[in-house]
Symmetry: C2
Subunit: 246 residues, 2 copies
Amino acid sequence: MYDITKRRTIRKYSAKEVSSELLHSLLQRAEQTQTMGNLQLYSVVVNRDDKMKKKLAPAHFNQPMVEGAPVVPTFCADYNRCTEWCLNRKASPGYDNFLSFINAATDALLYCQTFCHLAEEQGLGLCFLGTTIYNAQQIIDTLQLPKLVMPVATITLGWPDEEPIISDRLPLDAIVHEETYKPYTPESIDYFYTPKEQLEENLHFVEINGTESLAQIFTDIRYKGDDCRAISQSLLDVLRKQEFLN
Amino acid sequence: MYDITKRRTIRKYSAKEVSSELLHSLLQRAEQTQTMGNLQLYSVVVNRDDKMKKKLAPAHFNQPMVEGAPVVPTFCADYNRCTEWCLNRKASPGYDNFLSFINAATDALLYCQTFCHLAEEQGLGLCFLGTTIYNAQQIIDTLQLPKLVMPVATITLGWPDEEPIISDRLPLDAIVHEETYKPYTPESIDYFYTPKEQLEENLHFVEINGTESLAQIFTDIRYKGDDCRAISQSLLDVLRKQEFLN
């Protein structure tokens, strides 16, 4: 039986095919996820074709999983289909705005996560690519997404061909607040983060990167403030182009 | 065994307590969900206290589930904890921007959905409240959320005291696109939406609301364009106040 406490991200996949029957059954069962007004404000573009995966790869910084996985689904916030429905039914939709983007993105992400869970229950392995919103315009062009459709999540999916270690998590009391939010203190930060910082692999990361702390690997190398600010601007530009900021 | 095809939203809960042990076990197991750089950019504020639920209710338009449910967790995009960690580790965080909000909101929503799935597997029932981002400022004030924390999802949770019908979903080919996005046509819209429009309860909704079509119930009554635009502005204002738009 599937045990979520043993879940780990899978980046290497065996040659075994993921059948269309299984994939479609999982996508369909995931549809039972709750959505806003039961409008299902999402779409999934499924890439299996090698040429398409090759075209998609640069948008994901050529991470090898994109070309290496048998299936690469991109989950999109989609108000286009709903808007088309309205326009065909003498209704006047007004969903070209930021609230509607957040509502549709929420639908898409919840649906995506149910799909991930169901896929992992079947023994499939996956890697969630955080890069989708970094180069959204490239993905929009490659997948030919119309206005009011915005990619928000991509996963690479296949049968596992590796068994990586299970990565650490913060203790539960680091993320749960009872009744109101309790501010963190230097003492609670130490308490919550020291076990992570003391993991052998993290001590090793700090050493090979020559930083003073694990946190500096995030701020100075992986997710730099200047990069975040620049990408924020381009992301807002893409949202505007997709007509989600009118 | 839990069958997701039978899932339905539950709005009425029995008097039976949801034990802290069960709740914490579910919240902890859900932590195995993937997050950006394993940073876990989310927090959960758990409300059980009647006074707190009463304070929270107006932000959710006084929907009776908020005061009626034994547990009301609010899932938040949280870059505050990570930023505090960085500041305590001689690292210079730069996460007061839109990209970082979307990254943290993604983490929070994926975590939320894993939690929902695990809770439903245990027989718990829940209702996902789409209202959290409509009145985010009220929720921020009530839950005392600091800068770089933004509520993105609230659920009401308890043991079911009703068995509502399972709601319909669009056919799978309405939401799945192979390789590239296929534009919808008047014919495909008819094909995908007619079964929903012909459901007895939807014909009844149209009749009692005096609209010409089901779509008009959404555009003219439930989610009006003018409301969406106004809320979009206030949502952007709240994001700015929480320092996610610098």
